[in-house]
Symmetry: C2
Subunit: 274 residues, 2 copies
């Protein structure tokens, strides 16, 4: 009897960058297409084996919903993938550049093409959509519109590519794999909030610095409770199995009002080659 | 002869939260209404005496465009205002709740009302606009639509308030005043990027901690050049005239690849009462 295939929840519909990233690590799986990033977290919480979500882009920065969900859901990060992003402006076959008055896409994709759009379509109305592929799917129902997204999706939805590589600069997006099960590897992600006292962050970072643990990412985000309160998202080089990492986290715990360990996983080689 | 009035550039049209914030500190001035946050920075660069822009909200976090413009433009922060935000759902008089199928507003305002919108208008189409007031101004041309924004703007545009205080939680927005001239006060804002070496942030923070300089904000943002490279936005307690602050900044300069001093200014008492 054939083994039951794992399911992987991704932002849908078919052809999103998230699915393209997921296919880099998952072979022979069943994709579950979700309408939103939170729906991906919901799916994994309720039994789908894995989920893939974008977490940051080199041009546009962090994906806020993903950061929020990492705080709220009880899930682990078990892998990561970094993808080079080629954004294409696509249309229903036959549509000419001059006819385009509306351009639809995911807000991050629109933002990554600011310069291209203001030079080529200064008067077009920009409309945001939940995903780049969803924007393409809707294109057939809209006259005089164009969508921005991956070439792969244009093929799926029978659209023509008018321009490609229209993002303002070279662009990479980092995706993470979420699951109920922890992974293993030389990279570890944590989130913490510090007690409100002078030098709190400095003393927390000291615990890592003194143990020669390198931080590859440190990003703060407002707690959304009050101005001036922050949550820190930290990626570090090392595994939760390492004694130094264990010791550092134990010491930091005493300085935090909140500490969440998202897990250890394998660093994407593309990322380390940056 | 009457003294020429100062001009203050704000996000327009009339009635935005930015204008409401600006009126808290500027009396008897001429407002210059701009379409976008970048246009406010452009106006001040080309001669308008002051500009007011939102920089962070307690629920939604930082305003990305403002952070980007602070990096790019050669302007100073000379004041700040913190405003409690009361978001209202408004309609053209006579429109009933059941008739609403589209809701338009600034993306941050839409995001701050996620819960209200999913409970009360689960099927409505959300459409983003450059400002809350611009959304209200457009409302008259759209049937079956509602806008989200300040009560003050509803009054200006002759609209009815259907619901008020619809944001997910208590919400404050911090606005900054930008100008070519530096201000004075007990709060100082800087931006820096660190050399890519282990413990770099820890050693930078040490310069402040050792001098008992308290940081009221530390926020990092991807450099938009490559993944893993960050810019740090730091607010500290102290003035550029203080010897300790001067010394700390001199020491940090050697550790940075980029250092921009945005200026000293008076802290809003609302903020410090948080």
């Amino acid at each position: 009897m054939r083994k039951k295939r794992d399911r992987v929840a991704v932002l849908g519909p078919e052809g999103t960058f998230t699915e393209i990233a997921a296919r880099r690590i998952f072979k022979d799986v069943e994709f579950v297409y979700c309408d939103t990033v939170s729906a991906v977290f919901d799916s994994v919480s309720s039994g789908v084996e894995f989920g893939v979500v974008a977490i940051e882009n080199s041009l546009e920065g962090s994906v806020n919903t993903t950061m929020d969900c990492l705080i709220d859901y009880d899930l682990k990060i078990c892998n990561e993938v970094v993808l080079g992003i080629n954004l294409c402006l696509v249309v229903v076959p036959g549509t000419k550049k001059e006819e385009i008055d509306t351009i639809i896409s995911h807000p991050h994709a629109l933002a990554q093409c600011r310069r291209f759009l203001s030079e080529n379509f200064p008067d077009a109305r920009l409309q945001r959509h939940e995903s780049t592929a969803a924007a393409m799917e809707e294109l057939k129902r809209l006259e005089g519109s164009a969508a921005i997204g991956p070439r792969e999706a244009a093929k799926i939805y029978g659209l023509d590519v008018l321009f490609e590589n229209i993002q303002d600069a070279e662009s990479q997006t980092r995706f993470i794999v979420i699951s109920k099960e922890a992974g293993t590897g030389r990279k570890t992600s944590i989130i913490f909030a510090l007690k409100d006292e002078p030098g709190a962050l400095y003393r927390a970072l000291k615990e890592f610095a003194e143990r020669d643990i390198n931080l590859t990412k440190i990003e703060s985000r407002p707690s959304k409770r009050k101005l001036g309160e922050y949550l820190f998202f930290v990626d570090l080089e090392g595994s939760l199995d390492d004694k130094e990492v264990k010791d550092a986290l134990n010491s930091i715990k005493e300085r935090t009002t909140f500490l969440k360990i998202l897990g250890s996983y394998r660093e994407d080689s593309y990322y380390s080659l940056r």
